[in-house]
């Protein structure tokens, strides 16, 4: 997994590419989110356009990231899900947990 970070106003946009799976990106995702939370970024937007695969460990880290953000009074939202990642969020019912957006403009506007 690779990541690129940029800021749009007070929203930190983290673009991920590659695979988020056990032994290949799952721990990295956790560290990335924790680092940004520790730097006191309260609005995190994960751009998943480049993520082509996510196994149950990857999904688990996404859930853990969501919980970590919530516990620190921060928000974590998702955008640009590929069809496969969208399918995974649908079958796991996690689509009801995450705020998911199709484009950056809507996602940025949704942060309170």
């Amino acid at each position: 997994m690779k990541s690129q970070i940029r800021d749009v106003g007070d929203v930190r946009v983290i673009s991920l590419t590659g695979k988020i799976a056990i032994g290949s990106g799952d721990v990295m995702l956790r560290q990335l989110i924790n680092e940004n939370l520790e730097q006191n970024h309260k609005k995190l937007l994960l751009d998943l356009r480049g993520v082509n695969s996510m196994d149950s460990s990857g999904i688990g880290e996404m859930v853990a990231s969501y919980t970590s953000a919530k516990n620190r009074d921060a928000q974590l939202k998702l955008m640009n899900l590929s069809p496969k990642i969208n399918d995974i969020l649908q079958v796991t019912q996690l689509i009801t947990v995450f705020d998911v957006f199709d484009n950056e403009e809507e996602a940025i506007a949704a942060f309170s």
């Binding site: 799976a21 056990i22 032994g23 290949s24 695969s53 196994d55 149950s56 460990s57 999904i59 688990g60 880290e61 859930v63 853990a64 969501y66 919980t67 496969k84 969208n86 399918d87 649908q90 079958v91 796991t92 019912q93 996690l94 689509i95 009801t96 947990v97």
Partner: protein, 156 residues
Amino acid sequence: MPAGLLNHQARLSLESRFENIEVAERVLLEILRGSQTDADQQYWLLTALREAVANAVRHGSRGDFKNRVRLGVNLCETKLTIFVRDQGPGFDSEAIPDPTEQQNLLRPSGRGIFYMRRFMDAVDFTQAPGGGTLVTMSRNLERGPDKETRNEKSDS
């Protein structure tokens, strides 16, 4: 077996390392090469395999690289069967809570077996002769892409 019928088999004994999940994936892809499965269906089959091997490494061998994960893949006509055996103490698969229930949605773990059951027709966990857990997963490849997933998506 009559001549001309599709019949491929592979057997591997892997060191219990997460890196070897990709070896298992390559073996399954090679077996599927001669079948009529499309990329979509292959993706979900690989997902189920990945979860079974990851469970075998994580829970079955508990980080001991000396332990082995044994993989078998059979493709006979349209029936795909995958066997994954570890050297762990075993577990009660029925005791794993449903990760889609509201109270479990925010649990960071417990979705691997759900994935396997979702993307295969049948998944069985048995105590292997001589110890360890044997996971047997099968799927009829004529079923096509994961229709349940697609239906849910279109319903949402």
